[in-house]
């Protein structure tokens, strides 16, 4: 038996007999005694919480291999201990809630209300983890995964985390959609909510009334998908097939929206085109065009989303356009096809899968977007905002939010399924291992002209929008008073010197520190879990691997609003009661952004020969040592990608966190949205510029800290960072 196994058995006992089994009431201040012994499961059990005592049985089972360290049957004992322990912890956790028995059967047979208990705390978490790891060590001793305890434990931990933080919330939301307000099964109520006129109504076709929110969402998604694809293609063609002079600028512009909080563009649009916007004022003064509210509604949301998501289409399509082998086009030309014919019959068809991919990405992004519809939507309602108002608004109807979430989830999963089913099978790699000496065909004049005409005005518009953001932060009030001022920064970020040192009196400091803290915590966790998962998926073989992969990528397809609703539904009651803590924010980010780490990890790992790991193993390095000394140094690009992505996403996300923030843990983005709703645009803009700056600094710092990968090649080709390509909701 290894020392690690022994350690986990000891930790299992520590969690049971020493640490507090239940979470603390946040209003009470725990004393030191609460942390040790007196709050432990053992003491609770003796004092009357009898349901905790059976957990002693698996803990004792785990001691058998400690007493007889050399017996052949130790694997079996460990498995029995781990399985029974996990089962008991879960069973008691779900059977007994805050208000007594949670199942009708128990209530009927043992009498209501029955015993009650609070949410699990450190002790319970530690003991449950220990049982899980003991189980995995037992399986390894039985020869699973080549007898590698590190691998079985990793698989066990990742599966457990995914079950708790992805599957559990999703099933909760499904269950709550089918339940009435008392928690009983009510399929009829679901049908009524599901078929509601406000969701599927088609009144806008026949009368002046509004259409259902589902149709609104789909319509907007289609427009954004088509628009971003067309714009992205125009940019990609200009960047790769012309000798346009400002290509570098295009690249920079493609990165900017990724580090821009999603609603900031909406905000800039209001400052430009709102009733008191800069451009509106100019139009009124010079041409007498009356000020109006046209920007609030479909046009505004559409423009904002096009601005925000075109770079994603651009990054997808530039890869596709570069991937088309010029030789194919040359072949077409030598067969006497004119350049226009070649473009139409060879180049474009080869890009078709890329175009479909870009379209679907734009579609899904639009569906999941929350910030822009919230800021600009006006009367044009979409699912993501409707879900938000169903939870926080006057309705307080969680069942309705759950139904809407399911519709939105079905749309996005459907889009992803389409992408997978349709594109997954097609091979469209035209980059071969053979050297390709061809020269890309210059664009036919018609296409070039069309590209310039779409792309250039759009680029100028984007620059204008960002200029507004910059200018807006430093003037008193956009559209009305252009006096330069630092007032907004001072309100937000004032630092005063008082007797006892620095005092951060600015109104934004609290949320700023909370955001940085959560982002800095979640980024390394995300990268670690993502890369570990990628390692397991590419380097290990175990049964259920496909399901495992699906589980890790599922959270990718779930829109943030749905995640937010499902987290408050799932984690507001025991056994896992973590709403209102910083922990739930961190976990939310980790599991929303993990798939990017997984994908970039898989992409990098599949380029690294598997026999490198095996060589290390046969030289006596365990899997964890191999991971540390061989795999991680070669994974540096993927580490940078997932760190940057998860940090940036944690700083800019609105949709999921808006449900999860509290006064204590307010995030920068939700604070800014609050300021926008209060009409304090200058402050919001100033805060946003600070956020963008912080992210830029963080990206550079991460690059420097992780460093480049050293391969001893004379010139390593600079691989494009995979960060941006994978920017999916």
């Amino acid at each position: 038996m290894s020392r690690a196994t022994l350690g986990w058995i000891v930790l299992g006992w520590v969690g049971f007999a020493l640490l507090p089994w239940y979470g603390f009431d946040r209003t009470a201040v725990p004393t030191l005694a609460d942390y040790f012994v007196s709050g432990s499961a053992l003491i609770h059990g003796i004092k009357g919480a009898w349901w905790l005592l059976p957990i002693l049985i698996p803990l004792c089972l785990g001691l058998v291999p400690v007493i007889r360290p050399l017996a052949q049957t130790n694997g079996g004992w460990l498995i029995a201990s781990g399985l029974l322990g996990l089962a008991l912890v879960i069973l008691q956790g779900f059977a007994i809630g805050l208000n007594g028995w949670t199942f009708d059967i128990l209530r009927a047979s043992f009498g209501a209300p029955g015993p009650s208990q609070a949410g699990m705390g450190y002790g319970a978490a530690l003991t449950a983890t220990a049982f899980l790891i003991i189980l995995c060590h037992g399986l390894a001793a039985r020869g699973w995964c080549r007898g590698d305890a590190f691998v079985t434990s990793s698989i066990g931990v990742v599966i457990a985390l995914i079950v708790v933080f992805v599957f559990f919330p999703v099933t909760t939301i499904l269950a709550s959609a089918f339940a009435d307000n008392d928690g009983n099964f009510a399929p009829y109520e679901f049908l009524v909510k599901f078929l509601d006129r406000s969701i599927w109504g088609l009144d806008c076709l026949s009368s002046d009334l509004r259409c259902g929110v589902a149709w609104n969402t789909l319509f907007l998604g289609l427009l954004v998908g088509v628009g971003t694809t067309a714009l992205g293609l125009a940019f990609a063609l200009i960047a790769t097939r012309t000798d346009f002079r400002f290509k570098k600028l295009l690249r920079v512009m493609s990165v900017l929206p990724i580090i821009t909080p999603p609603f900031v563009i909406g905000l800039a649009l209001i400052l430009l085109f709102g009733r008191s916007g800069a451009l509106s004022a100019v139009l009124w003064d010079w041409f007498g065009v009356p000020r109006s509210r046209w920007i609030y509604g479909l046009p505004g949301v559409l423009i904002a989303q096009l601005l925000a998501f075109t770079p994603i289409a651009f990054l997808v399509l530039i890869g596709v356009v570069q991937g088309i082998s010029p030789t194919l086009e040359e072949a077409s030309q030598t067969l006497r096809a004119k350049s226009w014919t070649t473009f139409w019959t060879v180049t474009l068809p080869l890009m078709r899968p890329g175009l479909a991919n870009a379209f679907l990405l734009g579609f899904v992004e639009s569906l999941a977007d929350f910030g822009n519809p919230l800021v600009l939507g006006g009367n044009y309602e979409v699912l993501s905002t409707k879900i938000f108002f169903a939870v926080v608004g006057a309705q307080q109807d969680q069942g309705r939010a759950a139904v809407l979430s399911i519709i939105l989830l079905a749309f996005t999963l459907g889009a992803f399924w389409l992408q997978h089913a349709w594109l997954g099978k097609k091979v469209y790699t035209t980059v071969t291992g053979k050297g390709d000496a061809g020269i890309p065909l210059p664009l036919p004049r018609r296409v070039a002209l069309a590209s310039y005409l779409t792309a250039l005005p759009w680029a100028i518009f984007t620059v204008a929008v960002y200029a507004i953001i910059l200018v807006g932060a430093f003037v008193r009030s956009m559209g009305r008073d252009y006096t330069p001022t630092f007032e907004h920064f001072l309100t937000a970020f004032r630092v005063e010197r008082s007797g006892s040192g620095l005092y951060f009196s600015g109104s934004a400091w609290d949320s700023f520190f909370a955001t940085v803290k959560v982002a800095a915590l979640s980024a390394p966790l995300t990268a670690a879990i993502g890369l570990l998962t990628a390692y397991l998926l590419t380097r290990q073989r175990f049964s259920g691997q496909r399901a495992f992969e699906f589980g890790t990528l599922l959270s990718f397809a779930i829109p943030g609003t749905v995640v937010g609703v499902s987290y408050i539904l799932a984690f507001n009651v025991p056994p896992i009661e973590i709403t209102g803590t910083g922990f739930i924010l961190v976990m939310c980010f980790v599991f929303r952004n993990m798939p990017v780490g997984v994908r970039s990890g898989i992409a990098t790992l599949s380029q690294i020969d598997k026999s490198l790991d095996e060589a290390s193993l046969t030289l006596g390095a365990g899997s964890s040592t191999t991971m540390r000394r061989v795999v991680l140094p070669l994974l540096r690009p993927a580490i940078v990608a997932s760190l940057v992505y998860s940090f940036v996403r944690a700083m800019t996300a609105v949709s999921a966190v808006i449900f999860l923030v509290t006064a204590e843990y307010n995030m920068a983005t939700t604070y800014i949205v609050g300021r926008v709703e209060a009409g304090e645009f200058g402050l919001a803009i100033a805060y946003s510029t600070v956020l963008i700056l912080v992210m830029l600094v963080a990206i550079v710092a991460i690059q420097l800290a992780v460093g480049e990968r050293r391969l001893g090649r004379r010139s390593a080709s600079a691989a494009p960072s995979p960060v941006a390509v994978q920017a999916i909701p």
């Binding site: 020869g143 590698d148 095996e614 046969t618 030289l619 899997s623 000394r629």
Partner: protein, 369 residues
């Protein structure tokens, strides 16, 4: 590559501290889902021997090697190394090193760091680890290149680094997975001799996978021929060549003419066999009277121009290859592939020839055929 000092010129190092260990497979089976990669295989590799796993691709030889290393786990059966049951032990816990087909040198480490990797992950102090690595690099003839990155070495040098890295922990068993497949033909012969020399001077137990039968014949103490996930035959190179146990081995090891014959009588250990009209005395190898198949090596057939014997045929093709001449001869017992060495005048195509056999060697009854 020309300035590589050969192992031959090196003085013999002190005998390694560890004893070479045996490797034993007891009824080992490996399945991937419904596919059986290795089917109920049992064998023993004696300590200090070089044993080759030989077979066509997909026969399960690499899987067998990886099971010795612990990179694959047996689905059934037992694996023992040095008498100790290691069936459920992970690769890191077995005292076995491996030289990979792709060499698997860590690209982010220098040559020295690569070789010192084994001791350093075992917790050996850094200075000792480097010393051990330098010793092995000197043994393998790569002194002076230790600061280079693996990508800055030639293929042969990379291969030597891989061998040094595998040797540095002085493992009980050393495994080679097609170590020569990435080298050019001339270098191959040299490196395989080096490996053999190294194995004998260090008294190592070596398991060696290859699909090249000539390479296997050249380096091995014993050869395990595998076919369709099972062992087809085990034996010394000479036994395999001269007494193939079945049609597969006869055909796979060297070239062989498979010709029909009939056993007409058995006396003691010899059988009287009629091939065409030619009577032969051969070891019966447990074959009973009746029709049998014989493996006849191309150089065991003698052709005589002009003369007439019990068996005659016609030369259909002749190719002159310098040291030998190869013929295709049409005869009543089928088309024969014949090789003649020595400085004889080549026989022209279309010439009728008489056919005779050298009974002492190169001719064997195939049992169970």
């Amino acid at each position: 590559m020309n300035n590589m000092p050969s192992i031959h010129s090196l003085s013999r190092p002190a005998a390694s501290k560890k004893q070479a260990a045996s490797v034993q497979f007891r009824n080992v089976t490996k399945r991937y889902g419904s596919v059986t990669a290795v089917d109920d295989v049992s064998f023993t590799i004696e300590p200090g021997q070089l044993v080759t796993l030989l077979g066509p691709s997909g026969c399960g030889k690499t899987t067998t090697l990886r099971m010795i290393a612990g990179l694959e786990m047996a689905s059934e059966g037992q694996i023992l190394i040095g008498g100790r049951d290691v069936t459920n032990l992970s690769a890191a816990d077995r005292d076995v090193s491996m030289v990979f087909q792709s060499y698997a040198l860590f690209p982010h480490m220098s040559v020295l760091e690569n070789v010192a990797y084994g001791p350093s992950v075992q917790g050996v102090p850094k200075r000792d680890a480097i010393e051990m690595a330098m010793e092995k690099l000197a043994l393998i003839g790569l002194k002076g290149l230790e600061k280079r990155a693996p990508s800055e070495l030639s293929g042969g040098q990379q291969q030597r680094v891989a061998v040094a890295r595998a040797l540095v922990l002085e493992p009980q068993v050393l495994l080679f997975d097609e170590p020569l497949s990435n080298l050019d033909a001339k270098l191959r012969r040299r490196v395989r001799e080096d490996i053999r020399e190294l194995q004998q001077s260090l008294n190592l137990t070596v398991a060696y996978v290859t699909h090249d039968q000539e390479e296997a014949l050249a380096v091995s103490d014993h050869i395990i021929v595998m076919s369709n996930a099972r062992i087809a035959q085990t034996g010394t190179p000479r036994e395999l060549y001269e007494e193939p146990a079945n049609l597969f081995v006869a055909d796979f090891i060297g070239d062989a003419n498979i010709i029909p014959g009939e056993i007409v009588g058995v006396t003691g250990s010899t059988a009287q066999v009629n091939v065409g009209n030619v009577p032969l005395q051969l070891p019966h190898r447990n074959a009973g009277p009746g029709p049998v198949k014989l493996a006849v090596r191309p150089d065991a057939i003698l052709l005589d121009e002009g003369a007439t014997g019990a068996l005659s045929g016609t030369v259909r093709k002749a190719s002159y290859l310098g040291t030998q001449v190869e013929y295709e001869v049409e005869s009543p017992i089928g088309n024969l592939f014949v090789v003649q060495y020595g400085r004889k005048e080549p026989i022209m195509t279309g010439t009728p020839v008489s056919i005779a056999f050298t009974p002492q060697r190169g001719l064997a009854i195939i049992p169970n055929s």
